[in-house]
């Protein structure tokens, strides 16, 4: 920027400009010059037939982000209406150099009130997401009839299969080898006597590497192949199954599905993704990761320990499965995150294991265990633990 020093000896600056008084749309042609006299030098606007106006140089503000460089639009601080349009090159240069706060942002009025509103708005949204929606979801989950809950579970199951698959046209396969399913049924039958299930229990294995398991509304429990591969014994799988049955009995999945349905849309809204695909994605993600409350998880653990005890299975399997999850490490999600964030819980289970007499027979025979491990690769009974061997490389 060129700085022009106007000294006392310099010729008097004067130019013409367009003036708008903000009262009528009539453009007044005015003469402008700088009055150096007095403590605050000012731009003097000479309006024809009216007294001249003095705009102190320190109060001059140029409008920002203007498209035309051929015109300087000036406002006076504190006067929101009047405008002076200077198109004279010389005058623009001199004013840019002389007006000290020309490029300062004009003071925006009522900033405090705005911020108060903003805080209130954020608090309201937080209240809706964190209090109102969960409260309603919990109430509604109790009221949901069995058919509706099953439909909710089926819908989310399909979404999860699609989201987890790399090919959007081919959802993740459900493992269906008959011997494997028979072994799974045997395990389930060993566990469920003595439980009061809200609806019929339905256990599936999904052909996916994740070391995880989760429950869905309507009494569905999903085990991933990765979990069965990681388990050292069928008792460990049974322990996880017992934990998930605990969620089913407590109807945790229906609650969380309804909660997510309510809050995901709101979050999408905040991040500019109204009714977008990311919302659905996030919802299924939440279900897989099953971020139940700590209380719900603890209850499911206590329930699982009781269930294993009743079935004459070692509760310590829950603890060793927890060790397995910790070894797998890395991405701590859902069940794994729950276990790895509660080492004390692992100790508690371990103690429970020491105290309990294991009375029953093994949950599966060696042959049945192999069948379960191969539930996702039918007709491949000879190479037991194929997946695990490849994993350990």
């Amino acid at each position: 920027m060129t700085t022009i020093h106007v000294t006392d000896g310099a010729p008097q600056f004067s130019a013409y400009a367009d003036f708008l008084d903000g009262e009528s749309p009539v453009v007044h042609r005015v003469g402008i010059n700088i009055d150096e006299g007095g403590p605050d030098p000012a731009l003097v606007l000479a309006l024809p037939g009216k007294p001249a106006r003095r705009w102190p140089l320190a109060e001059l503000r140029a409008l920002r982000d203007q498209a035309g460089k051929d015109m300087l639009v000036l406002a006076r601080q504190g006067n929101p209406l009047a405008r002076l349009m200077v198109s004279d090159d010389e005058a623009m240069r001199i004013l840019s150099a002389r007006a000290p706060r020309l490029r300062h942002a004009p003071h925006a009025p009522g900033r405090g009130r705005l911020l108060a509103w903003a805080a209130g708005a954020i608090a309201s949204v937080a209240l809706i997401i964190l209090v109102l929606v969960p409260l309603m979801a919990d109430q509604l989950a109790e009221l949901l009839p069995a058919d509706g809950e099953r439909a909710l579970g089926d819908t989310t199951f399909e979404q999860i299969r699609t989201v987890l698959s790399e090919n959007p046209l081919a959802p993740v396969a459900i493992c269906e080898a008959p011997e494997g399913l028979a072994a799974l049924a045997k395990m389930t039958d060993r566990l469920i006597p003595g439980t009061t299930l809200p609806s019929e229990l339905n256990v599936h294995i999904l052909d996916h590497d994740l070391i995880n398991a989760f429950a869905l509304p309507g009494g569905q429990v999903i085990l991933f192949r990765g979990l069965i591969d990681a388990a050292e014994s069928p008792e460990e799988v049974a322990a996880v199954l017992a934990h998930e049955i605990g969620h089913v009995v407590a109807r945790d999945p229906a609650r969380i599905a309804l909660r997510t349905a309510g809050s995901v849309g709101v979050l999408g809204l905040l991040f500019g993704d109204f009714a977008g695909g990311a919302a659905v994605l996030f919802m299924t993600e939440r279900l897989i990761q099953a971020s139940y409350s700590r209380e719900a998880e603890n209850n499911a653990d206590i329930f699982a320990l009781d269930l294993l005890d009743q079935a004459g299975l070692p509760p310590a399997a829950l603890a060793s499965m927890f060790e397995r999850f910790r070894e797998a490490g890395g991405e701590a999600e859902g069940l794994i995150a729950h276990f790895s964030s509660h080492p004390a819980l692992g100790d508690r289970i371990a103690r429970a294991g020491e105290l309990t007499q294991v009375s029953g027979a093994p949950v599966l025979s060696v042959r049945e265990w192999r069948a379960l491990q191969n539930a996702c690769s039918p007709g491949d009974l000879t190479s037991g633990g194929r997946q695990r061997e490849s994993r350990k490389k």
């Binding site: 982000d65 203007q66 929101p80 925006a108 509103w117 708005a121 949204v125």
Partner: protein, 398 residues
């Protein structure tokens, strides 16, 4: 005083300045996780408004970013309640009674439609209330729910009549808005009638009917001969659509008046069609070139080059080839956002600006002496800004 000459409009915005302004503000928007978008919108509007100079005097945009942020937050509270609570109940009822979620989605969407029209009107009111020309404020009287009701009604009629009454909707909704638009103490009036739009509409409607008929023919008789008819009817319908929009703008501008002041708009359909076609082509070309250059650069930097083929597997292997996970993620996120930033900026430069320039430069104001009677009006304290439109992501161009 009636001898005052008509005022023509000039447009002084240049692509270069817009490019840097749009780029700078877009990058800031991403860096602030979207919060700067209220500032970005404000600054872009200041630029565009000041570009338009009817009679040599630029428009001035006086909207404040903070009031946009506030309006957005207020809208989010209402919509959070709607989406959170109403959708939850709809989802529950849908599963409980119908064992599926389709009903919930449909009802939820239908419930949003009136809010969309409401939001459109409010956004227009806010923008007009923050626009000045020759120091005098524009304005739009309150009436968003009335507008939403009428818009819904006209859409139902239009859909039920298979589009026959579309021009009636165009005219009536524009009249509703225009008759409530003020410039200082003067209120605008929309004259004319909806019949005047029909000649222009036929250029869209007839090829659209031919296209629909051809689709029906292909489905019904399983004979693809009708696709030949579509090869002509689809492009004609596309041009016809632009032609109709431009003609409607021209005809309705010519029949607007405000205390003796009138308007002559003369935008040309071919020019608008060209700006759309060529503008998007240029934007796409630039994006594509930059993408190729970026991929080659990435390959070279990582030293995994050798083949510059761009398939996703290749990028995957690039990512896996010794890059730490966070670095790969950062590059991925940067690519993702750069794409949207780039596209948004190029669209501003190659489409929005040329369109606005064309519409501005072909607009003149007649009966200028009518302006002498205009006086200033009170500021419309409209704290919610265009929050609903922002939250619902409509009319987001500028």
């Amino acid at each position: 005083m009636s001898a005052l000459a008509d005022l023509s409009t000039s447009f002084v915005g240049r692509r270069g300045r817009l490019f840097w302004l749009a780029l700078k503000t877009s990058v800031l928007t991403v860096l602030t996780l979207g919060f700067y978008r209220f500032w970005m919108k404000t600054r872009l509007r200041r630029f565009y408004w000041s570009s338009i100079r009817p009679g040599g005097q630029p428009l001035e945009y006086l909207g404040e970013p903070l009031e946009k942020l506030l309006g957005f937050l207020i809208a989010v509270v209402f919509l959070a309640f709607y989406i959170g609570v109403v959708n939850l109940i709809l989802m529950f009822l849908s599963f409980a009674l119908l064992q599926g979620n389709v009903a919930a989605y449909v009802l939820s969407f239908v419930g949003v439609i009136p809010i969309l029209f409401y939001a459109q009107y409010r956004a227009r009111r806010y923008i007009l209330a923050r626009t000045r020309w020759r120091g005098i404020r524009f304005g739009l009287e309150p009436g968003a729910w009335g507008y939403a009701g009428r818009a819904l009604w006209h859409w139902i009629i239009t859909l039920a009549s298979l589009g026959v009454f579309w021009p009636r909707m165009t005219y009536r909704l524009e009249k509703f808005r225009t008759d409530r638009t003020t410039y200082g103490t003067v209120t605008l009036t929309q004259g004319g009638g909806w019949g005047m739009l029909y000649p222009a509409y036929l250029l869209f409607y007839i090829p659209a009917l031919v296209t629909a008929g051809s689709v029906a023919f292909v489905i019904w008789f399983d004979d693809e001969i009708a696709l030949i008819a579509m090869m002509i009817s689809v492009p004609v319908a596309l041009f016809g659509w632009v032609f109709y929009q431009v003609a409607a703008f021209r005809l309705m501008a010519a029949t607007k008046s405000a205390g003796g002041v009138g308007f002559i708009a003369a935008p040309r359909s071919w020019r608008v069609f060209w700006i759309y076609g060529f503008g998007y082509f240029l934007a796409g070309l630039v994006m594509f070139s930059v993408l190729i250059a970026a991929l080659i650069l990435l390959g070279a930097v990582l030293g995994v080059s050798g083949s510059f083929s761009i398939d996703l597997d290749n990028i995957d292997s690039l990512m896996n080839a010794g890059l730490p996970f966070w670095a790969a993620t950062a590059i991925g996120v940067a690519f993702y956002f750069s794409f949207f930033i780039g596209w948004g900026v190029l669209r501003q430069v190659f489409v929005t600006l040329p369109l606005m320039k064309h519409y501005a430069e072909t607009l003149s104001i007649t009966g200028v002496s009518g302006l002498l009677a205009v006086r200033q009006t009170e500021r419309d304290r409209f704290a919610e800004a265009e929050g609903f439109a922002e939250a619902l992501d409509i009319g987001a161009a500028i």
